[in-house]
């Protein structure tokens, strides 16, 4: 048997139209030849700055948008080969928790109704007698009370809403959950509560997570392995334990140097990287990070480096890796 989730050569590009008659004026290669795998029970992190394709990748894997090429295999079945009907049945095994808990729930549904809805959509029998019990169990699992189940989303705080959002992802007992920046809109103390909740859930239910975030400290704490993305490409895959000491890609190092640590005195004196992420419009040949890299040489602008093996299941795409 292969890996639990296997992603091969996944790519998608979007046409951008503009001008008179809305002609196609360019393409954005949002996700470019991405391959990786996730073991059962693993938490894999995806980190990168805005526009690097993290969320698009999540949507591709769940087939919420169609890819141009590549394949996604979950538990041995290629989901891109499924018919619409099969796909709908498959969806109960793969769920997503969204970034913004304020807009992810239907404002006119009580939490209870939002949690019952997946059963109706998936035609999973839920006898009336058991309904209350089942929903109460789920609410308790995520740390909400029965009364909060009867609340509307606007009556809950951000953290409670995110708990409800997680509950909704869990009701049909999926195996694989994608968490798209689940704590980006929350305060640190609430973020800590949600992360602790997710840690507990993974252990109790043996879940597999793909955890997307722009916060490298959080990802390195919560995940087992981390994928670093830049402009639609994977630049590095690295074990979370190694990321602080031996990053291989200069971009990973840049991200680490950009973190403001809560240890005063250790002021970041390292020169910060200049410039911003370039527009993903019609990317030039060569390494995507070449325009901002401190170590750039002429080959970097001509040839795109392939992902090469490093240590502990790690990979890096760089002509001159740091370690």
């Amino acid at each position: 048997m292969g890996k639990f989730v296997e992603i091969k050569d996944l790519s998608v590009s979007f046409k951008v139209s503009g001008g008179l008659f809305l002609r196609t004026i360019g393409t954005i290669q949002a996700v470019n030849n991405v391959s990786f795998s996730i073991d059962k029970g693993e938490i894999l992190g995806v980190v990168g700055e805005s526009g690097c394709g993290k969320s698009t990748l999540a949507r591709l894997i769940l087939r919420l948008i169609e890819s141009n090429s590549g394949s996604v295999t979950i538990d041995g079945t290629d989901i891109f080969k499924m018919s619409k009907k099969e796909m709908r049945q498959q969806r109960r095994h793969m769920q997503m928790v969204f970034q913004d808990p304020y807009s992810a729930m239907d404002p006119r549904y009580t939490i209870f109704r939002s949690l019952v809805e997946p059963f109706k959509i998936q035609n999973v029998p839920l006898p009336k007698a058991e309904k209350r019990k089942k929903i109460d169990e789920i609410l308790e699992l995520v740390g909400l009370s029965t009364e909060q189940g009867f609340a509307y989303p606007h009556e809950l705080s951000g953290g409670q809403k995110q708990r409800a959002d997680i509950a909704r992802a869990l009701v049909l007992s999926p195996q694989f959950i994608i968490l798209d920046e689940p704590t980006a809109a929350l305060d640190v103390s609430v973020q800590a509560q949600i992360i602790k909740l997710l840690e507990g859930l993974r252990e109790r239910l043996n879940l597999t997570f793909l955890f997307i975030s722009h916060d490298l400290s959080l990802v390195s704490y919560f995940c087992d392995r981390v994928i670093v993305m830049y402009l639609g490409r994977i630049v590095e895959i690295i074990s979370a334990d190694l990321i602080g000491n031996t990053p291989y890609h200069p971009y990973t190092k840049t991200l680490i140097d950009s973190i403001f640590m809560t240890t005063p005195g250790k002021r970041n004196q390292i020169p910060v990287v200049e410039g911003e992420v370039p527009s993903p419009f019609n990317l030039p040949a060569g390494c995507v990070f070449a325009s901002r890299c401190h170590y750039v040489k002429s080959i970097c602008r001509e040839q795109n480096p392939a992902l090469e093996k490093t240590v502990e299941n790690g990979q890096v795409a760089c002509h001159f890796p740091l370690n």
Binding site: S50, S157, Q160, V188, H214, T262, N268, E276
Partner: protein
């Protein structure tokens, strides 16, 4: 001579025949050229404190009490007209969201010039030259071109630089920055923060930095005020506060932040949630969530006391240091 001295600042609003005080008992002092940080979670009253200092809360129907002394002048007793001459020219505010604080239908250059023209006697042509010069100092690439552009044509980092230029163009004595980097990517945040330090500290401009990010505070500020539910709970020098946090809330908050190399499962969360303005508990507002809570904490609001030089805390666990 103290530069900025805020004592017992409170703001009162009337909501449906009830009065609420979103901030109460806020006192701190800031010396010339210092960087003062204010940290707290959503709704803790950080932005309101900034608005109250600038006399902005009274414009939306709030009553400001207490005292705000800026270079020995009592700001709260000034007439609106006098306040207007200080606001923008001597005390400038960089608002929270650069995406919404720029007017979308005016060229960004004209928006900066407008502020300068309003407060300083200067010809339009000279004002433009001065603004271009400032834009160059803020490392805005091709200032001539950017001057002519509209906000939607600029990236987040550039927009933030424009807003900073608006704040700095009149050479204020005090700059209040309300979450200036919250919407930005980490690499851009690092650039902007370095710029902030160069443009303020090196020129003797006082910086009052509001953020929810303790990492930014630790790396940028000299002193920090910690807010919880509208009260200031701790105030002190950066080194003292981060190395030996006194208030149980400050301690817990620091333990909520993941860092690279943190051992899995060791993240701490504060149970419960931040109370809303209408439901502030009696006594110490943190007591329902505090592990050291005693009957005294429920009944009596702890006074804000000196426990060490430059270190103040509002907690019954500590005794005032005499002498």
């Amino acid at each position: 001579m103290s530069f900025l001295k805020v004592s017992d600042l409170e703001v009162e609003f009337r909501v449906d025949k009830n009065t609420v005080k979103p901030i109460e008992k806020v006192s701190f002092e800031m010396n010339e050229g210092e960087v003062l940080g204010m940290v707290g979670e959503t709704g803790s009253g950080k932005s309101l404190t900034a608005h109250a200092i600038m006399g902005l809360s009274s414009l939306v129907g709030g009553k400001i009490r207490g005292s705000v002394k800026f270079e020995e002048r009592e700001l709260l007793s000034l007439a609106e007209k006098e306040m207007q001459s200080i606001r923008g020219s001597q005390i400038a505010l960089i608002p929270q969201n650069p995406m919404t604080s720029l007017d979308p239908v005016y060229r960004v250059g004209d928006q900066i010039v407008e502020g300068l023209y309003k407060h300083v006697k200067i010809s339009k042509r000279k004002a433009k030259l001065q603004v271009l010069d400032l834009m160059e100092k803020l490392r805005i690439p091709k200032p001539d071109r950017v001057f002519q552009q509209y906000p939607h044509q600029l990236s987040g980092g550039l927009k933030q630089r424009i807003v900073i230029a608006m704040g700095l163009c009149t050479n204020p004595r005090l700059l209040i920055a309300d979450e200036p980097t919250t919407a930005l990517d980490v690499t851009v945040q690092a650039q902007i923060m370095r710029l902030f330090k160069e443009m303020t500290v090196d020129k003797g401009i006082g910086l009052f930095l509001i953020t929810h990010d303790l990492g930014v505070i630790a790396q940028v500020c000299d002193k920090v005020a910690v807010m919880y539910a509208g009260n200031m709970v701790e105030f002190g020098k950066i080194e003292t506060l981060f190395n030996t946090p006194r208030h149980p809330y400050t301690k817990a908050l620091l333990e909520c932040i993941p860092y690279i190399g943190m051992k899995k499962g060791t993240l701490n969360a504060i149970s419960g949630s931040v109370p809303s303005t209408a439901t502030y508990p009696s006594g110490c507002r943190y007591h329902p969530r505090c592990p050291h809570s005693e009957p005294q904490c429920e009944n009596e609001m702890p006074p804000f006391i000196n426990i060490e030089e430059d270190t103040q805390v509002a907690c019954h666990l500590y005794q005032e240091k005499k002498g």
